[in-house]
């Protein structure tokens, strides 16, 4: 309403942000758990006086640095870029509400970069004590980044009292802040184990490889119980209507619930299998498979979390199409074409009825629907419904279809949009 809409058709419907966000969050969580993995493994090397383990830590740090510092950091910037072009209004709300949370997170990010560079390049230069201290500083800064970002991410799902009082702290320490923090912390430890498999499987010394694979397996298996407990806590902390959306009302989310459950079993099973002595080629293949399972596991969770927020982008405050919940009635009265800033066809004539329909589609639907794309393809959905069924969908949006926002325009605009869907899109 306030900003222009980027006409992203094939990659719309959340596909672009899903891809970049899942990759980023997976690597970013590795950056947290992996930091603990590094420093505790270094402790282990000193305790056992084992040069092989220390050399492994050094190699693992190189891999860690190249992955988290480059792909991790830049996909993080990428998320910011992506949300700002896909939903500038929501991004603006987040930035203005949490500017100093983002700023605080940035200071931890600075500490992360400096400490990780120092950690990697000073194995031979610093005393053991100082080197370990730098490692702990890295982990502390990385976990604090998670702490801050967790508050902002979960604010979007459960903004709690912020919706009424607009208070920073109400939004930050929102109803799911603590369970989500524990959930993500334990998950990041599990991911550290998954990446540990990867680098361990490349060790040439069979004895050391088996030792490190078993050691990495513990990083999966030990926190897993705590991870499941925090998952249960997370679910219990969700407001009932969100739980209903995720687990009952949205058939599109069922495959992700199934995937999450299946991957839970596979993670445990895979962790046990990896602890068995096996040839290096097989362990490498298994490690790669485990990494992919971890990515699917986390992806399934992210889809559920994002799905639970529907039809909002910031729950109970701003709908996915950037219309504020409180503005819905006034917008419906005035009409979208009269209210939205970036609309060309304010007066509809027979000559511009399709163009006006397209503008309504852009403002109201494009944030969730792709055109011909892999996610939420509107063409497919329109073709699957008769014109009468399409009318029914519009009549039940926001009520019997609680994952869709109520239609925000007036009756005339509804007919223009339906006409556009039945003609241009159905074609």
């Amino acid at each position: 309403m306030n900003y222009p809409v980027w006409q992203l058709e094939f990659l719309g419907g959340g596909f672009l942000i899903a891809v970049i966000a899942i990759i980023h969050v997976y690597i970013a969580q590795f950056a947290v758990g992996g930091g603990l993995f590094l420093v505790l493994t270094e402790h282990l090397a000193y305790r056992r006086n084992d040069q092989g383990i220390l050399d492994f830590v050094r190699k693992h740090t190189k891999f860690f640095l190249l992955l988290t510092m480059v792909a991790g950091a830049l996909t993080g910037v990428g998320i910011w870029f992506t949300i700002s072009v896909l939903n500038p209004s929501a991004t603006s709300t987040l930035i203005h509400t949490f500017v100093f949370a983002f700023g605080t997170e940035w200071t931890f990010f600075v500490a992360e970069i400096v400490s990780l560079f120092i950690y990697y390049y000073t194995f031979d230069r610093l005393t053991k004590r100082n080197h370990l201290t730098i490692g702990w500083i890295y982990f502390g800064a990385a976990w604090m980044s998670l702490f801050v970002i967790n508050g902002i991410i979960d604010f979007m799902l459960t903004p709690g009292a912020w919706v009424e009082n607009n208070n920073f702290w109400s939004g930050f320490f929102n109803p799911t802040f603590w369970p989500a923090l524990f959930f993500r912390t334990f998950f990041s430890v599990i991911i550290a184990g998954l990446f540990g498999f990867m680098t361990s499987s490349f060790l040439k010394d069979e004895e050391l490889r088996t030792t490190m694979l078993r050691y990495s397996a513990k990083w999966l298996l030990v926190p897993f119980v705590l991870f499941l407990a925090s998952s249960w806590w997370y679910r219990a902390a969700l407001p009932p209507h969100i739980e209903v959306i995720i687990f009952q009302k949205m058939p599109q989310l069922r495959p992700f619930i199934t995937l999450f459950l299946v991957c839970s079993g596979l993670i445990i099973l895979g962790g046990l299998v990896m602890a068995i002595r096996m040839p290096s080629g097989l362990s490498r293949t298994m490690a790669a498979v485990m990494l992919v399972i971890g990515l699917m596991y986390f992806g399934a969770f992210e889809f559920l979390r994002e799905g639970g927020r529907r039809p909002y982008i910031i729950y109970d405050y701003m709908y996915s199409n950037a219309i504020l919940k409180n503005d819905l009635d006034s917008v419906a009265e005035a009409g979208i074409l009269n209210t939205a800033k970036w609309v060309e066809h304010r007066h509809v004539t027979p000559a511009n009825v399709q163009a006006a329909g397209r503008e309504l589609f852009d403002v109201l639907c494009l944030s969730c629907h792709s055109i011909g794309g892999p996610l939420n393809d509107i063409s497919r959905q329109v073709r699957m419904s008769s014109p009468e069924e399409l009318n029914l969908i519009f009549a039940t949006m926001g009520w019997e279809r609680p994952y869709m926002p109520p239609f925000a325009g007036n009756e005339f605009e509804k007919q223009i949009l339906i006409n556009y869907l039945n003609t241009t899109i159905r074609r």
Binding site: N2, Y3, P4, V5, W6, Q7, L8, L16, I20, L66, M69, V70, A71, A73, L74, T75, V77, G78, F81, T82, S84, V85, P88, S89, T91, S92, I95, H96, V99, F100, F102, G103, T104, W106, T107, F108, F109, V110, A111, I113, V114, S115, F117, I118, T122, D124, R125, L126, T127, N130, I134, I137, N166, N167, F168, W169, K341, W342, E344, D362
Partner: protein
Amino acid sequence: MDAVSLIPTPDALQVHWFWLHLLLTLTTFLHFVAMNIMLGAGFIAFATPFWRGNDVMPLNAHIAKTLPYSIAFTINLGVAPFLFLQVLYGQFLYTSSVLMAVYWLSIVGLLIISYYAVYIYRLIDDKSGLGRLFIGAALLLLLSVSFLFSNNVSIMQMPEVWLKYFSDRTGWLLNSSDPALIPRYLHFIASAVAIGGLAIALYFEIRKRRGATDGEEWIKLGCNWFMVATIINFGFGFWFLGALPENAYDPATLYGKLFFIMIVGSVVTIIPSVAYAQAGRIIPATVWALATVLLMTLARDILRLTYLKPYFSLRELPYEPQFSPFLVFLIAFVGGIYLVGWMLKTVWNAKEVT
């Protein structure tokens, strides 16, 4: 339809705009310093072998070693000003980003590729053959990223060109109609090469003071790059000035006066910087050069306000005070500086251990 009606309504600030602008200017300055070092050093590493041949490979080995750091810090130090820019100018920035969305998002991919290219350049021994391909590719991509940033700034500051959206809503717009776009871009690139040259001189000066004996030649080379690029940049600077709207330096307006003072100040500070560099006094040359970068950063801030003056005033931004998050940020900021300082001191004082 006029451009004013398209400007989105801004959200409320939590502290007075002055604090946010102070943070914006300060962090932009830090970002520019890091960016200049990164881009300038990369440019010099790629360009110098064209006439010096493989003689400069020892220098390139040092540049290769430090480039990943400078990219990391450029990106990191770019995050903070990007944050504060969004808070103060989000209604303009988001709009321009949507208008050029495809190019804007491509920056992420371009940066990832250039970052890995720089790491490969660091890791391979052959800096003259295959190495030049990697540093060349990284440089080309970084120069493209800079051009896209210049474009976004240009579109953001010129709401009058936003109407182009209605003829192309697919995110493929660039602002080729801005006469200041090319000189602005070239001015930035030449600055980067100059500061990159000075950074090379400073790097070897510090090594020299710690006992290294291999840097005299590179100190001279860095200073020469600094001087030549600065002289060329005077040309780009005047071109840029000539392409700006007249009110940008109109002494009858406050912004015009301030802009004029900053530009004159930049010239006044860069001259002693070049002179010190030619005399081999790298530390004072660096101090004066940093003063120039700071003044140019301020000039850029003022220029943005001039461009947006018909549409926007910082004083008009809605304000709903909440100070406690700001306080937490300041504590984290100071704590972060202390922590980083401690880590750097620890490394600086460290001797090789076995």
